[in-house]
Symmetry: C2
Subunit: 161 residues, 2 copies
Amino acid sequence: MAEQKRARTLPLRKTQPRQRSRPVVDLNVLNDRLGYFVRRLQVWVFQDFVRRLSPIDISPAQFSVLVVIDANRGLSQAELATTLAIERARLVRLLNHLERRGLTQRLPSSGDRRRHALQLTRDGQAILARAKALAEDHEAALRQKLSAERYQVLLELLQEF
Amino acid sequence: MAEQKRARTLPLRKTQPRQRSRPVVDLNVLNDRLGYFVRRLQVWVFQDFVRRLSPIDISPAQFSVLVVIDANRGLSQAELATTLAIERARLVRLLNHLERRGLTQRLPSSGDRRRHALQLTRDGQAILARAKALAEDHEAALRQKLSAERYQVLLELLQEF
DNA sequence: TATTGTTATACTCTATAACTATA
DNA sequence: TATAGTTATAGAGTATAACAATA
């Protein structure tokens, strides 16, 4: 994806009638749309995360799945899907992929024979440990990009959401 | 998507000792990841936007394209793509779609024969007017969901980003 | 009847590469 | 050589519907 230069506050042109506060391209109502800026941030976050975890080839969705399985060993696919707002059907393929890589397992659930009890393999736990370290680097980069204060305020606001 | 109540640092509840404040499923490190919550919010925003603009069948990306073309008549596809962080290749298909619906036009650019000068048709302007009204409803819904104060703080923080 | 996991389909989006016509 | 627009392709992600096994 293309680099996103906001131009909005970029001091690129030397002489611009109304100073360089005027954007090169007018965003019009988008300038007052929270949804627009949330998407821009989300795109940045996603790309930085993917780049940093590329050595172990773990996507944001895969990371969240590994984290939640590890913290809730034996939970079902339906519970996992609901928790992470992933479609049940999509989760099936995601788990197939992780299982093929030898990171997760579907064990028979005691009691309800419809369910699978999910858990990580040893390899899965090892990958998760590396993933968590890299994800912390990513989070640190995000904190630096936003400034520590803004990061903190944002995190607290969004946690309540 | 599932409703997400975070409960973690909310000063909203008066007394919440150790009751059902504990989530059914443990999110582990995800609880401290800004990126995770940004995605949750982004998903909510996207779905609400799509639902509200479904009567005129305009997606968030299409909306942003119409807005920026209208506010910058004659700009090129490359400029538009860079501004909105859309891939050049993706923008081609997006504009093909809007053009087939009779909402946008690619006119010859004076001077550089490689470029197209983009502009809205009359129908495009009419649709954009309706889209802006519906998008304002969406924004109002978002403001209510977050509370007016949180909405304002978030908007100001993210605008600087 | 409802739920769990699964398969299938269609559509959108992202990420690339390569091509053409201009500059 | 570089840029603007285009085509093509592969892989994710989203949204549905339907099915078998089980509750």
